[in-house]
């Protein structure tokens, strides 16, 4: 969401009373975030999508790998197959719902792993500077000049990820460079801050300063990056599926369902096959982008 949509909000009664009560910066950020309608709406939609995929067995009784051989290539039939079936008789609704599980698993686990790597490496580079910084940044440069997608494809073709966890590992191993560079910039800015100097003087160790003093101060940008990263990971999953480097097609993921429609006949005559996964990928990424925009505005001290 462009910044001006939130910045033009008129001071609410809450803002007037705030002068009297003291609130923590996180509380203020949360309040600003909750006032951003696009971001809150996106959060609700996203929660619904996550919930729907978690509660998949309650919404469909089909297993995403069960072949209903009496009803192959079926158009949507209520209530048997609300979104039809594919050429093997597998229910599309079940694949879409269970596919969300795999997508969110990849998105959130890889996000956590990549954020961890970037905090550790970015923190070390930013805190120590000097040769530590130089070594870490050369590795980051190397990873960044290596087209991320190419690396993932080459790795995938060598270590064919037959399981979701292997794919998660491959993505985590290749996707940390950009964020690490970003985190390093944040930590580098804080390096000369007075409270960091004070912490050094009282003899706090490197990790204590990085994790207890610096990290809370970069929480805002960190959360913005984390939401963007999840959107990016879900984008990557489907892109890899379309190129044929995803988990095997039998595993339901949104990308795999979308890939199934990559043929002119299905594209033209069976919109129920490709519109739902396309819509789910689009909605998830859109919501993530709106949320990250809301977070960016909420944590920006220049606003309000």
């Amino acid at each position: 969401m462009p910044a001006h949509l939130t910045s033009s909000a008129t001071p609410s009664p809450a803002a007037v009373s705030r002068r009297r009560t003291v609130k923590s910066p996180t509380r203020l950020a949360l309040e600003r975030f909750l006032r951003n309608r696009a971001a809150v709406g996106s959060l609700v939609v996203l929660c619904l999508i996550v919930l729907a995929s978690l509660c998949a067995p309650l919404l469909t009784h089909w297993d995403p790998s069960y072949q209903d051989l009496m009803n192959t290539d079926s158009p949507p039939v209520w209530p048997a197959h609300p979104l039809g079936t594919d050429a093997n008789g597998i229910d599309y609704l079940a694949r879409d719902l269970y596919g969300g599980r795999v997508d969110f698993l990849i998105g959130f686990v890889d996000m956590a792993v990549i954020m961890l790597i970037s905090i550790v490496l970015g923190g070390l580079a930013g805190f120590y500077g000097g040769w530590v910084d130089a070594v870490i940044m050369r590795i980051v440069d190397f990873m960044m000049n290596f087209p991320f997608l190419l690396l993932i494809i080459v790795l995938q073709s060598l270590v064919p990820a037959n399981t979701v966890w292997l794919l998660i590992l491959v993505i985590a191993a290749t996707g940390w460079a950009n964020i690490t560079r970003f985190m390093r910039g944040l930590f580098l800015n804080l390096r000369e801050a007075e409270y960091v100097l004070a912490a050094r003087i009282v003899g706090a160790g490197a990790w204590r300063i990085i994790l207890r003093h610096m990290l809370p101060n970069v929480l805002g940008p960190l959360m913005v990056q984390a939401t963007l990263l999840v959107a990016n990971l879900i984008f990557t999953e489907a892109a890899l599926a379309i190129l044929g480097f995803d988990v095997p097609v039998t595993v339901p993921t949104w990308g795999n369902v979308l890939k199934g429609a990559q043929d002119f006949f299905v594209l033209q005559s069976e919109p129920w096959a490709w519109l739902p996964p396309a819509g789910l990928i689009f909605l998830t990424i859109l919501c993530m982008n709106f949320i990250s925009d809301g977070l960016r505005d909420a944590f920006d001290p220049c606003f309000d």
Binding site: L243, F264, L267, A278, I281
Partner: protein, 319 residues
């Protein structure tokens, strides 16, 4: 400036060297090679034939020797022969590079033609209904992955309306291979790429126009009685383009990734398609050549961004 560019170009050599070693090791780590798959098991003695083919390609030698041999050939301009397509790699790269350049240039042109005017228009009347509506619409389009846009474009323009082809980089029949034919085939993939990224330019342009519009010299221009249009297009626009122009260089990385996905989706015979085919077939010489060309493109893109920065803004000096 020349020394700066030379230094940067020289700095690319170790990076490219590291990338080539890395790709080389990765490729050879996995079991099997290009010849495992293509040999017909009904042949009389497939193992012996495979051994002979591997020997001819030098795959039976120790890895350091193989790498050294490849490097020696590569720096003298010989990129080897493709294992599966049976042609010199250089011959394959020519048309592929041409097609990808066509796609990239067309996409970049669409991005600029769509993105910058919308940004200017928004900055003309900021915070108006048009500004809000178009910003939101752009945000939505920007959030749509290009392969999903491609699905919709194929559905509407290739299947329903049949205006543009959705397969291959050149057509068949008379006129095949002409510039028009090339452009005709490049339009849908280029449009998918452009639609998902022109919003970046609009946002950049809008923000930059508004920033520059607040400066003192703009007030001076108004004060001496220049017309609104003249101030806007002559005085504000030129300075506002500084941050926008530098974006060009960074686009290259984006275009590379986009090219791989979209060329795969559209079976468009460019660099990305060549790379994907080579990966499917374990065609080592082609993988090496395409990855290195992509890496060079990204490195040069970053350099171009830095140089453009200095060219459009004389205050920046690299020395």
């Amino acid at each position: 400036m020349v020394t700066y560019i030379t230094r940067r170009l020289l700095g690319m050599i170790p990076m490219l060297f590291a990338i080539s070693v890395f790709v080389f090791l990765l490729m050879h780590m996995a079991p099997g090679n290009a010849f495992t798959a293509i040999l017909d098991p009904r042949l009389k003695d497939p193992e012996q034939l495979q051994k002979a083919l591997e020997q001819a390609a030098g795959l039976d030698r120790p890895l350091p020797w193989q790498y050294w041999h490849w490097l020696q050939q590569f720096v003298t301009g010989n990129m080897g022969n493709s294992f599966t397509l049976h042609r010199p790699v250089a011959e394959l790269l020519g048309p592929a590079l041409e097609n990808t350049l066509m796609l990239a240039v067309l996409a970049e042109a669409m991005i600029i033609v769509l993105g910058i005017p919308i940004g200017i228009w928004q900055a003309r009347k900021p915070y108006s209904a048009f500004d809000y509506a178009s910003s939101t619409a752009l945000f939505v389009v920007y959030s749509t992955p290009y392969y999903i846009l491609a699905f919709f474009l194929i559905y509407f323009f290739a299947i329903e309306l049949q205006w543009f082809p959705a397969q291959n980089a050149v057509g068949t029949g008379p006129g095949a291979g002409s510039l028009v034919d090339h452009l005709h085939h490049a339009i849908l993939p280029a449009l998918s790429l452009a639609l998902s990224s022109f919003a970046v330019y609009s946002r950049f342009t809008r923000a930059s126009m508004l920033d520059v519009g607040r400066l003192d010299y703009v007030r001076t221009a108004y004060a001496k009685g220049l017309s609104e249009n003249r101030v806007f297009f002559k005085h504000v626009f030129r300075n506002a383009m500084i941050p926008v122009v530098t974006q060009f260089g960074f686009d290259i990385g984006n275009l590379v990734a986009g090219a791989v996905i979209l060329e795969g989706l559209f079976s468009y015979q460019g660099m990305g398609y060549l790379f994907l085919q080579a990966v499917y077939n374990r065609d080592y010489p082609v993988i090496m050549a395409t990855t290195l060309i992509f890496a060079v493109a990204i490195l040069i893109g970053n350099l171009v961004a830095d140089v453009l920065y200095a060219v459009v803004d004389p205050r920046i000096r690299y020395n």
